[in-house]
Symmetry: D2
Subunit: 269 residues, 4 copies
């Protein structure tokens, strides 16, 4: 195996070459947003409908002018929603604004302090949205049982947090992530908590299908350069996953030394 | 800052575009060696003089036929030497075989079980070699005091282990590495222990100037693909270091929450 | 502060001197069970109603003969239940067998492979049991939002897993645990995943009010000695928490070095 | 195995019941020093000869009045020495002041900023002191090769740092520590870096023979309570080591799941 040219990420039947999904918030202006997105190589770009103008305010500049639909797949999200009703209403509005666009990212938060997911409301909203014909990518906790429930409801991707939104703490519990990946039949993307390039690489090496981030890029000292770093890190992690890493050995000269408990190198599927 | 086009690694006065140095051992054959080196983008390639034919055995195939000197900087190393005398003798032989080539990698091992460095012998060999006109890059422990001694002796780069040679355990003690980086006036490269792409990215994010590896690539299931992953990971880590990552926060919404003790984000120099 | 003689764990209005709660499964026989429990110093002892005879089978030996009610507080649990109905039924049976005993441990599992909690069923069962007059201690994920929901329902203690039941992996996500502890108004006990003494000490140092374990003791090579170790470890961790540890500093001589992101030393309440 | 009553720490032929060694610096006064030492249960108490009066200044209060020789084994140390000559001179002075006392702790520091050991000077001083009849316990880096050299010189115990003196960072590299423990024929004690009770327990669980600390106790908000915590933590860690912990398993229900690279549970010797 010497290339990954034919290794797309498939979500809801559509193939994407990039496995890095990015947000659009927290940049200086739309121009910097676009520059960073270009450097990231992302094809799917998520937009907080409650915070970003994509046509709701007809007299203000719209993000859509900077992210042409021919070139990017917009992913409307429900950032700022704390219950199922608000989330469903927000995504129905997005669908109207975007001419029937189906692919959305659901997030229902538990509180404004931690921005941790509210899972009962998330499950309820997912049911409604799937029944309503949406293709739901869903932000959630790293709970393998509830991830399976979301998959059973019909979500097209599950997106467990690596750590709190905006925290930059990286992947706090790789073991839970592996439980989720090992059982999933839909793509698993890490969403929230990535802080730097190696965090994104680790997510991919664990077997994640993709990574979604915003703050790690937009909040860096040099956002466009960090976007380039993340672009390469996601590819590096994916290739390392497919390449089959060497096993960890506490002693190089004693390959059979008894070791246990560390997360095992993932086997590419 | 939007590009890293002018960010060379300078060792002993020579500038290199690639910050990934690779070994030549453990491959199936010289053809695979070359393919992997090409995918890695490495410009400096290290060769174990005691194990690889670069002309010592005139009738056998020589690695040099596959790594033309116009294209690659060869870095003879002393793998397999357990005392200063053997190491010095080995590098003098390499200098003869390579027409006065000065840039070398010194490693003196403590025992065949762990392959951990023998620091007293390493210090002694470094003194002799520097006095003899070599440009010495030196494999060593992650001991900041002895790294400074090696620098004071005149070594052109210090190369602390991340973990045992061939172990694939990654960077076991990033704090020691940071102590070394913070005080060094010569390049610091992580040598030994990298297992997968994220390990290389982490080394660069900590502020290392480069990474040297062999087993992680040659021992992977698909070595050429892993070489490509490492190439991207080193670039990603370097760019992330230069881009200035977001700070870690235990609570996103509470940026001033009292936290302490984790290794701090490095400031680019 | 020089003693912890007056530092009880209060659950549902009752004060306990020991903060270590233990299980009764996986021992050789009831005699060893009793020996280990004595060495642990535990006052609350949990019993899997579906697996242990406490009177359901009148002709078989009963655990109660070895754990007299005057000396120990029995904590019936629902190990082996995979939905709310089974869990509620099991605890009603226990209440009958134990003459109206109210203190119970609810656990509803997601699958037999991971033994991870099923949170929707756990929330449903908790509502029913609290309404039915039980004092519910509840095994759950380390999700701070759902822990708060369980507290709002009226549970008398929340017991997030440290890692999977029987895994011995220790505390995989101390940050989530701290979010839970920081907001809780009922005792927080770590349940499941403790492997050795230091794991129990870490849980207490984070600010947990207690620790519940079974496999770590019963599965050790020498269970009674491990029970003694856990007894001391829980006390050590509690005292260290109350004593106020020194801050972590990357450089001893540079107390103000910029560090961030590591879990902060807890302040005793 | 149900007790550890006959499990002494033997150093230079003398048996000690306590495996916790403590320092005497940084306390409010000698009275608090004594209280904390009593709570710690320590029998060996180390004294910085360059900072503490044990008779050098005849007109000032002496620590010896508070630590009677019948009750405690004094361990003079060379804190503040930066070369072999100073260290040797300091310990010869201590021997005079203490009537021929042989047991000493050697430490030679690399710089005042990190307090990291200077290993070449440490090796030189150890040679001189052993030849001079001292029983040398030696503070050193966690380098297994140099630890073996110190043992070969004749040191009676090796004491690798867990992390920088006074840092409270705990054991940064447990793998190096295990390499040292696995090969050592003299006691291995962790010296420096312990921050809280669980750090001490972890050291003992790894198979260390003892732990030496000062700042973690003296610098705590409540030093006497922390001394009690450390006393229990060292016992807990030792008992857990002897009791044989359960293996770590990523899945409880899948004991043979492929895992690798984590430090393995130590086998008691």
């Amino acid at each position: 195996m010497t290339a990954t040219s034919n290794d797309p990420l498939v979500i809801a039947g559509t193939a994407y070459q990039s496995r890095l999904l990015v947000g659009t918030g927290k940049y200086q202006d739309f121009a910097q947003t676009r520059q960073a997105i270009d450097a990231s190589g992302a094809q799917i770009v998520t937009v907080a409908i409650r915070r970003t103008n994509i046509g709701q305010n007809a007299n203000e500049p719209s993000l859509l002018e900077h992210l042409p639909a021919e070139q990017f797949t917009l992913l409307p999200n429900t950032a700022g929603c704390y219950n199922a009703d608000d989330a469903v209403r927000t995504l129905r509005l997005a669908r109207e604004l975007l001419d029937g666009h189906k692919l959305v990212k659901l997030e229902v938060l538990g509180d404004a302090h931690t921005l941790f997911p509210n899972m009962p409301e998330t499950l309820a909203a997912a049911k409604t949205l799937v029944a309503d014909g949406f293709h739901v990518m869903v932000y959630c906790t790293d709970d393998p049982v509830q991830c399976r429930m979301l998959e059973d409801i019909g979500c097209v991707a599950v997106m467990p947090l690596a750590s709190l939104i905006g925290s930059g703490m990286g992947i706090l519990n790789p073991w839970n992530l592996r439980l989720i990946i090992d059982q999933a039949r839909v793509p698993v993307l890490v969403d929230a908590g990535v802080g730097t390039a190696s965090d994104a690489a680790i997510a991919m090496e664990l077997g994640c299908d993709g990574v979604l981030m915003n703050t790690a890029i937009a909040g860096a000292t040099h956002p466009v350069l960090m976007a380039s770093a993340m672009n390469k890190a996601v590819q590096a992690g994916r290739e390392a996953y497919l390449a089959g890493r060497v096993p960890r050995k506490t002693y190089a000269a004693a390959p059979s030394s008894p070791t246990s408990g560390l997360i095992s190198p993932a086997t590419s599927k």
